[in-house]
């Protein structure tokens, strides 16, 4: 079953405020994590997103769709990156997320991808 593991945040709250040591460790950590998931045959995809401050939001206004600068959510709640993993069960997805949380110390969201067969 597939799960999306999502990290949220913004530049102010994240990278920029951390020291050099931590950042180097973080880069190594992410590299190792992706590598492990690739080797275990669980990684479907992983992407990082440009900072939320660079986002545009398309809204329906006065009967038409209009693009405006800025993210939809508060920039500190904006999606930063995600992994999609294909794992044995939810426990395994949570274990992967825990490994990330143990390092980054910020909450991570884990959601099932809709890939289950229907019952009928």
């Amino acid at each position: 079953m597939k799960y999306m593991i999502m990290t949220f945040g913004s530049a102010e709250a994240g990278l920029a405020t951390m020291g050099k040591e931590w950042m180097l460790e973080m880069i190594q950590f992410m590299h190792n994590l992706d590598d492990d998931l690739r080797k275990s045959g669980e990684l479907v995809s992983a992407e990082g997103l440009a900072d939320g401050s660079q986002a545009k939001t398309v809204r329906f206004e006065n009967g038409i769709s209009v693009a405006t600068d800025g993210p939809y959510a508060e920039s500190k709640e904006s999606l930063v990156g995600y992994w999609i993993v294909d794992v044995e069960d939810e426990d395994r997805a949570l274990a992967i997320a825990s490994r990330i949380v143990d390092f980054v110390k910020v909450p991570i969201e884990v959601r099932r991808v809709m890939d289950a067969p229907p019952d009928f």
């Binding site: 294909d86 809709m114 009928f120």
Partner: protein
Amino acid sequence: MRSDARTEDLLRELAPQVLGALVRRHGQFDMCEDAVQDALLAAAQHWAEQGIPDNPRSWLLTVASRRLVDRWRSEGARRRREETAALLEIPEQGRSAAEHDDTLSLLFLCCHPSLSVSSQLALTLRAVGGLTTAEIASAFLVPEATMAQRISRAKESIRSTGARFELPAKSEQADRLRVVLHVLYLVFNEGYLTSTGPSLNRADLTAEAIRLSGMVHALLPAEGEVAGLLALMLLTEARRAARTLPDGSLVPLDEQRRDLWDRSMIEEGVALLTRTLGTTAVGPYQMQAAIAAVHDEAPSAAETDWPQILALYDVLERVSPGPVVRLNRAVAVAKVHGPRAGLALLGTLDDDERMKRNHRLESVRGHLLELAGDLSAARDSYQRAARMTASLPEQRYLALRAARLA
């Protein structure tokens, strides 16, 4: 590459036999498996150009043996002795008695209990089903590199656990066979998700599960549950064309166009079941097949023999008790004794931890509440179920169901 259907069928049929023969001779399941895949690809190419050889099995065995030697060579000279032995070996003529066991041993190995379920599925489809890694990856909607890694890890753990290429001891065989059947059942289930991949779509997975189950049934004709599983698959697959609309939305059983059901598949499933029932101990697959058969044989939803289905669920719950069986039995109870009786039975599942996160309890409850005329409670149940399911078509179906009652 494998456009010719006859060639493809033949290759897939021969794949486990050739692999079995190779492993029996040399051991080293993982390397033999790679060599056979190479040989299958070579065959698909050569046979398309030059036609199928007189003895395709020998052809494959010879090419696979050569590829095995190539692989040993590339590993260095440490296998010089086996290499020579493999070269001197004359390709098998005819079929040995051990061959019957080879395919089974292969299945038991690929479905080894030490492997994760996803590894069991992938390995079975490749080593026994003869599918390529790319085909399996596309069926499970993951990148090819991910699937390749999964398969190679599975082979690695077979090597490290020291699992042997042989039939399990008599005392273990029933348990091991249960794992094999579960894997085939899951392959079939995966095929339920209607989605199109480039080379192998999910519909082909159900066909593959039926083909492999048919093969196991031919090898173990006296095993009632093998026949039961095969019959269950046939009787379920028969409804495929009626189960979804062209836009992918689901059609529940009682609203399906029965003229779209595949009659010959139903007859095949019913005949198989009739031959099987009563010859061995009753098991869950046989019972589920029997229930599917009652549905399939009803000329219309209204003419369904629900008392018969309820009786079968009673037996099923006895041989294989569990919340999901109880849930399905509640539907039959509702049809026979009224929706309130069904709802009462559902109530016994409310405190069951295993059902806490299962959307089916709420979706069945919604259905029974709707039958009982309690429309607003039915709508709530459908909406709860829609939030809980991990199936997109089912979520849409349930949301639509709720919207209809608004």
